[in-house]
């Protein structure tokens, strides 16, 4: 969608603004001149600053993260108001003294007062990898600030949240962004955008496959524990929330690895580069503290996507109702004790543990033969679409099974796959 193109433009703007601190993109031909101007301007400004040539800026920095201030800083740089930019940067550093990106910008702005600079991270022999990391962070943050999720669109993955689940987490690895959505029960459980945060992912990106590949998994997960700071090494910052990677689907796909957590940032830095972890999703400590309040162990989904797909509310409602209908048809057909109708809801590729569809069908036929009646109740249903090319949804619910000879309650998880236009169960088991 339109998201993408804007992002690219923005990236360019950042690179240019941050690089030359002059309006290079407007005047490519006079690049040299404009860079040279910088020193003259910087010098001139020193003399006129205090005299009030610059409109004074209030040093108000919000707590919502540095994106807003960074945006203002780069706008000032683009407009060649370098003193304003420096003032804002120093305000940001006052709030987050060990914010490396802000320190780099400060270094550039100060150096620009001394000599013309023509690149972001203009220090002689600056380690290129570290500068590139900070540039990437700047671009990610500025893009995210400009590109808030559209108000009337929702992430496709949050199809149905159970009533006792208050929030859902959606991570977009391409954007280095974590979105918090509220389960808006007053509006029929529609996801309502709450906030978004910058995150760090694996050094080698997303789509984890094997142990040690330094990638962040893509899929539907939930937090399985809440590890407080006291129990953790400094690397994890203010806290950690392990995820259930590899989940049933991952295992079925042969994916391996472990210890994928959502956690904070070590004390020696405010933020980490966009790609820096071994696969974990990392928030700044202040952001983790806020997000942590909304995390319910065993319940809050953390859905990690390469690139979040957004649906209009209409499309979202259609997809949700289609799935709910399929799930209900499965329930009704089970109650009917018509095993053939019931088995039509299962994919030929179905597997439950080592049990194939045939074995599963055989067993169901035997069981159903002894039934006079079956009552099946589904509660706390959640339906989350699995990010990725394959159309897979993760369905979880409390199953209350009653029959003439057996009653059973369990939490069940199914993976449904869209095959030939029909939603079919490809995995099921207890959750």
């Amino acid at each position: 969608m339109k998201f993408g193109r804007k992002l690219a433009l923005l990236g360019l703007a950042v690179a240019l603004a941050a690089g030359a601190a002059a309006r290079l993109k407007d005047q490519p031909a006079t690049q040299e001149a404009s860079v040279k101007e910088l020193s003259a301007i910087a010098l001139a400004r020193q003399t006129t600053d205090k005299a009030g040539a610059d409109s004074p800026l209030p040093l108000v920095v919000s707590d919502s993260g540095p994106e807003e201030v960074l945006t203002r800083i780069f706008a000032e740089i683009e407009a060649n108001r370098l003193s304003n930019a420096l003032q804002l940067t120093e305000g940001l550093l006052h709030q987050h003294p060990n914010y490396r990106l802000a320190n780099l910008i400060k270094g550039d702005l100060l150096l620009a007062r001394k000599q013309p600079i023509d690149t972001f991270g203009a220090l002689n022999n600056a380690p290129a990898d570290k500068v590139a990391d900070l540039r990437a962070e700047a671009i990610a943050r500025l893009a995210a600030y400009r590109e808030k999720p559209p108000a009337d669109f929702v992430p496709r993955y949050l199809l149905q949240m159970p009533p006792d689940q208050r929030f859902a987490i959606v991570v977009d690895t391409k954007r280095s962004r974590l979105y918090v959505y509220e389960n808006d029960l007053k509006n029929g459980g529609r996801p309502r955008f709450v906030a978004d945060y910058y995150v760090t992912q694996g050094k080698l990106g997303a789509e984890k496959l094997v142990e040690g590949d330094k990638k962040t998994p893509v899929g539907v997960y939930h937090v399985t524990a809440n590890l407080p700071r006291q129990k953790l090494a400094d690397l994890y910052g203010n806290g950690a929330f392990p995820l259930n990677y590899p989940n049933e689907w991952d295992k079925r796909q042969g994916r391996s690895g472990s210890g994928i957590w959502l956690h904070g940032t070590p004390s020696n830095t405010f933020a980490r580069p966009p790609r820096a972890s071994d696969g974990c999703v990392v928030l700044t400590n202040q952001d983790l503290d806020v997000v942590a309040k909304n995390l319910q162990v065993g319940l809050t989904p953390v859905i990690i996507s390469n690139s979040v797909e957004w649906l209009s509310l209409d499309d979202w409602a259609r997809e949700r109702s289609e799935l709910n209908k399929s799930i209900d048809a499965w329930r009704v057909d089970w109650e009917s004790r018509d095993t053939d109708r019931y088995l039509k809801h299962y994919s030929p590729r179905f597997k439950a543990g080592k049990q194939s569809l045939d074995e599963f069908a055989e067993q169901k036929k035997q069981v159903n033969a002894g039934k006079e009646w079956i009552k099946l109740k589904i509660d706390n249903l959640s339906v989350f679409r699995n990010p990725g090319k394959e159309e897979v949804v993760v369905v979880t619910f409390d199953q209350d099974y009653r029959s003439n000879n057996l009653n059973n309650q369990m939490k069940k998880r199914q993976y449904w796959l869209r095959e030939g236009g029909q939603w079919k169960i490809i995995y099921e088991g207890s959750a």
Binding site: Q31, E32, A33, K36, L43, A44, Q46, T47, D49, K50, A51, N98, R100, L101, A102, N103, L104, K106, G107, D108, L110, L111, R113, K114, Q115, G121, L123, N124, A126, P127, K130, V131, L134
Partner: protein, 367 residues
Amino acid sequence: MTSISLLQPRFKQIKTLRAMAIGLAIGFAVPAFADNLPDVQRLIKQGQYPQALEKVDAYLSSRPKDAQGRFLKGLIYTEMNKPADAIGVFTKLSEDYPELPEPYNNLAVLYAQQKQYDKARTALEMAIRTHPSYAIAYENLGDVYAKLASQAYDKALQLDNSNSATQNKLALIRDLITTSGKGNVKPQPAVAAAAPVAAKPAAAPSATIVAATPGAAAAPVAPATKPVAVVAAAPVATPTPTPAAPTPVPAKDAAGNEEVVAALNGWADAWSRKDMRAYLGAYASSFKTPKGKSRKAWEQERAQRIAGKSGKISVSVDTPQITIDGNTATAEFRQHYKATGLSSSTTKTLVFVRTGSKWLIKEENTR
């Protein structure tokens, strides 16, 4: 490459206003004390700080407000390596005479010595605020900005601090009077008009100076007697001008050497004269511009840094070693560069290529 980065370690000599000995400032003082301050200055010059302190205290006992005397006292403390006392004196002085840039500048020097660069920056910005054309404060401020930038970079990129420990020494101002004079004033037309220094009284220091505030020395309305001081103090090493036309005697090595040396000196000479035509003419069309800049961009940059530079430039070539290989000659030498606020000596290699009867520069490398 050729240009001297302003960030290179540079050890700016303390800019002593030697001309101070002429003692212009003394004219301000009430006659009875007239010879006290020169005595103090002489003692400072001789390094007899305790005696100088005694004398200046005596001088100040009867005129405690006197800016000149207090300024000298601050200098004496600085020389005696008593930064806290010196800071106290200059701070008080700047409070009593906020219009004087010198106390701010020297405060900045002291703060910078203690690595309190933020305080140094504030003080220098105050100095410039009072005197927008104050060149030394600018240079010092430039150094402080560079230092602050370097600190910020260290934090941003987790650099090891130890390798950036090149301590710039800021220039202490030895003289209270904010003077005009080409050396001390940044040529900045817009500002210069506003600055009180513009009107340069050709007359010798006259009665006009004996202003209402005797001690304060009426700083802004400075007499112009010692304008030369600052810059002139920087030794202007005359480059060895070897304008002798290259005698076209090819083949023989010795003759070839002479030609290359002549080309080398011609290049340095053109640079010193800020003769951009001659300077750029010394470079071959095949010259490898640094960082792959376009020739035009490079020429513009050179013009900005040479012709666009205020004050004198002096470039001299020291002990050139020439090796010639066919039509290529390599000259390795020490380059001594001096300009306002900056001097450097670097080992440089120029690779010349014979082009017609001339040796032109093909590559330029600094080590």
